[in-house]
């Protein structure tokens, strides 16, 4: 395993553990206000300080990790769930009209700036975590469809696919039995990268007030709250900002590391 992979795994695991732990324990109740202790710098009681209402930032950060992970996870799930079958379908009908329709529809979605459409969706259907998930998820579909189709096309040229066709297997069956397991490593890598982009997108939507609504904490909104107070309480902005940076960096390193680790050519060199 490379250093990148270990560091990425380490950072990602911390975020997941923090989010998981927040279900059973946080240092304080993340929503309980304590005005006298407001705007505390990091100290022995409030490890990462308090915000303008005296709420514990570490607790909010842990519960916020939950929101980020949930939104990114479901959004990537939507992308994989719809994008991968579409990509497989397009690859199995290479050059046909189904391929054309799927891929041109992909291009259409790609042509829109994703954040603007996300704002549009939340503006029409109202701001909530669920709508943020849908908005981010839609833009994951073409990414996965394209990556799947690209890798699947090269697998379709292999002789074992010809052998499966000689065995009378239809294209749907070949796609799931032979193609999917052989493109899975590419998809795993893409999923980690989309996951980090999902966390960023969720933070951006929450920052402009279109993501998770109060009292559910979210890293993006914590940043937005800190904006006006940045000169008197810089820790309020630094803490969620660093959390976002480290999480995204961790996931990207994980994706890069996985790509190297799952590369069959490198695998052969290892064994």
């Amino acid at each position: 395993m490379s250093r990148n992979l270990i560091l990425g795994l380490f950072l990602s695991t911390i975020v997941v553990i923090a989010a998981g732990l927040s279900f059973v324990w946080t240092p304080f109740d993340h929503a309980s206000m304590n005005i006298p202790d407001k705007l505390q710098s990091p100290n022995a009681v409030n490890l990462l300080g308090t915000d303008q209402f005296g709420r514990d930032i570490l607790s909010a950060l842990m519960v916020g990790a939950r929101t980020s992970i949930a939104v990114a996870f479901v959004a990537v799930g939507i992308g994989i769930g719809l994008g991968v079958p579409l990509g497989l379908w397009a690859a199995s009908r290479k050059g046909g009209w189904i391929d054309e329709i799927i891929m041109r529809a992909n291009d259409l979605i790609f042509a829109f700036p994703s954040l603007v459409i996300a704002i549009l969706i939340t503006a029409i259907f109202g701001a909530s975590a669920v709508n943020a998930i849908i908005a981010i998820g839609i833009f994951n579909i073409p990414v996965f469809a394209r990556v799947t189709r690209g890798s699947a096309l090269s697998i379709w040229e292999r002789e074992f696919i010809l052998a499966a066709r000689v065995a009378g297997k239809g294209s749907a069956r070949i796609s799931f039995e032979h193609i999917l397991p052989n493109v899975a490593n590419v998809l795993i890598v893409q999923a980690t990268i989309q996951f980090s982009l999902g966390i960023l997108a969720e933070a951006a939507l929450s920052y402009v007030g279109l993501g998770a609504q109060p009292p559910t904490p979210s890293w993006g909104r914590m940043l937005a709250d800190a904006q006006t107070l940045v000169s008197i309480a810089p820790h309020m902005a630094l803490v969620p900002g660093c959390a976002i940076i480290l999480t995204v960096m961790g996931l990207n390193l994980l994706g890069d590391g996985l790509r190297d680790w799952l590369d069959p050519r490198l695998n052969e060199a290892r064994t």
Binding site: R158, E159, F160, L162, A163, A164, R165, V166, A167, G168, K169, G170, R173, H178, P181, N182, P264
Partner: protein
């Protein structure tokens, strides 16, 4: 003075020793062939002379070029030596040339690098004429994709000899080429060696080529030279058992059983009737009508039950297209292909009743299996064709029986394909084709990627299976020697048409069609050996 001499060359990569105590000499004007099977270290020998070994390789020993030890040279001096004193020709002309540079630029590049001050363009033109690409017919502004495989290999040779090297290394220079082209390239290499007094170190697995070309032969196995000598002496008087095995395996004739007189040979099993297959070419301009390329042109033939038929032809002659059409994977534009009276192509949904009578074995022993499935699952893939596929114990028994029939053990069912060698994988491919007892098996270049000794064993296996299962097969290959040993009847295909067909021995011994004659004449033959 000796041109190249290596003394006690040892190369190891990691803990694995790839060359052991390799010593040989090459005199100016001499052709030395290094031969052996895959993994014997023949390419490593060439790469160590060029000092182009993969990273992490440890070299011990001396490599003397004109008396100077190459191993003591710095990388900068080595760069000077490569190209100027040593030229190299690679196996695959498609990848050895840069697709975005013209042939003139690629040849003159080495001249600019190593001979500053000379008129590079004139030298380039002269060099290309010498390799048979005169600039009036092949302008220097051509790109590699505008040339055929043989012409590309000529460009690669021109690049190698442009600076008048003392030593030319050719690593399997004709393996990727058709037989007729191969003969021309070999003649060219021979001529250039004699004209320039170069030494030629030729690496090839093909003993017929070696016997025809080389002045001296080095036979390698597992990184060691097991036998060496003057070509004629060595052929007449082989000492080492490995050399003997190698030569006998290359000339191996499998013993085909005679066709069982009981089988019904009247109704054809496979009947191809005036089949044509067109491909649409890209439009030459936006409004031009797209042209058609006819890959299979009015092909008709029958295969009767019990017949072992060969199909030979060079690359691009339409063999593979015809195979796909017979397998029912692609539609023919006109004509019919019928198996046992039913059409093989039935639209998008495959006709299982027809498919189950026909199976195929492909060329590439590495690409023809899903790397993520176990052997058991791989060879059971055709069960999908059966409405009553065996299950449970019966399935396991059938798997064990089939694996044993192809010379593997029943325990191999639990392994993954990467745990097997190329020859073993080809056995698995045959097991997969046979497990549902098809009436017709198509071998598509099934032994082309294998080493000679493995190839001989697979041919014996096929002959043995003929005896056990009364196989009917179509054996597609570019190798006339293989086809001769394993078929009763042969068809010769050129430019989409079948130009000649008849009993194998008759077609190859007395070809009447011009194309067949040139094919037979061009195939390198091993001289008859006293056994």
């Amino acid at each position: 003075m000796t041109l190249l001499s290596t003394r006690g060359l040892n190369v190891s990569i990691g803990r694995k020793s790839v060359l052991k105590n390799v010593s040989f000499d090459i005199e100016p004007g001499e052709i030395v062939a290094v031969t052996g099977e895959s993994g014997s270290g023949k390419s490593m020998t060439a790469l160590s002379v060029m000092d182009l070994l993969p990273e992490g390789a440890q070299t011990v020993g001396e490599i003397l070029l004109n008396g100077a030890d190459l191993r003591k040279q710095s990388e900068a001096q080595m760069c000077e030596t490569r190209g100027q004193s040593i030229g190299m020709v690679f196996q695959e002309p498609m990848t050895a040339l840069n697709p975005v540079k013209t042939i003139g630029d690629q040849v003159s590049e080495t001249i600019y690098l190593h001979r500053p001050g000379v008129d590079a363009e004139a030298v380039t033109a002269r060099t290309l004429s010498r390799v048979g690409l005169p600039p009036d017919r092949f302008p220097l502004t051509r790109y590699p994709h505008e040339l055929s495989g043989g012409q590309r290999q000529r460009v690669v040779i021109a690049m190698a000899i442009a600076c008048g090297p003392r030593l030319l290394i050719a690593d399997e220079p004709t393996t990727a080429l058709d037989v007729t082209t191969q003969a021309q390239i070999l003649d060219l290499l021979k001529r250039l060696t004699h004209e320039d007094g170069m030494g030629l170190l030729m690496i090839t697995h093909d003993l017929a080529v070696v016997a025809d070309m080389a002045d001296r032969i080095l036979v390698m196995r597992d990184g060691e030279i097991v036998e060496h000598g003057e070509t004629q002496d060595l052929l007449r008087n082989m000492q080492h058992p490995y050399t003997k095995m190698l030569f006998h395996a290359s000339m191996h004739q499998a013993k085909l059983p005679t066709i069982d007189p009981e089988t019904d040979t009247e109704t054809p099993l496979l009947s191809v009737n005036q089949a044509c297959r067109d491909y649409r070419l890209p439009r030459s301009s936006l409004f031009a009508r797209a042209k058609q390329f006819r890959a299979v042109d009015d092909v008709s033939f029958d295969i009767k039950r019990g017949e072992r038929v060969g199909l030979v032809g060079e690359s691009g002659c339409g063999k593979s297209t015809l195979t796909r059409a017979i397998l029912g994977l692609e539609k023919v534009q006109s004509g019919q292909i019928q198996l046992d009276g039913a059409p093989v192509f039935a639209g998008r949904r495959p006709n299982l009743a027809v498919r189950r009578k026909m199976q195929v074995v492909f060329q590439d022993p590495y690409g023809s299996f899903n790397p993520r499935h176990r052997v058991e699952r791989l060879i059971c893939e055709p069960f999908h064709l059966l409405s009553d596929a065996p299950t449970g114990n019966k399935r396991d028994e059938l798997i064990a029986e089939t694996l044993e029939a192809v010379g593997l053990s029943p325990e191999d069912a639990q392994k993954y394909p990467h745990q097997f060698s190329g020859g073993q994988r080809q056995r698995i491919a045959i097991a997969r084709a046979l497990i549902i007892r098809p009436e017709l098996v198509i071998f598509d270049e099934a032994v082309s990627a294998l080493d000679v000794s493995v190839r001989a064993r697979i041919l014996d296996l096929i002959a043995g299976l003929c005896r056990a299962y009364d196989l009917t097969y179509l054996f597609i290959s570019h190798d006339l020697n293989v086809v001769r040993s394993i078929t009763d009847r042969v068809m010769v295909m050129a430019a989409g048409k079948i130009v000649e067909s008849g009993p194998t021995a008759q077609v190859f011994d007395n070809p009447y069609h011009l194309y067949t004659k040139s094919l037979v004449a061009a195939s390198p033959m091993l001289p008859a050996l006293e056994s």
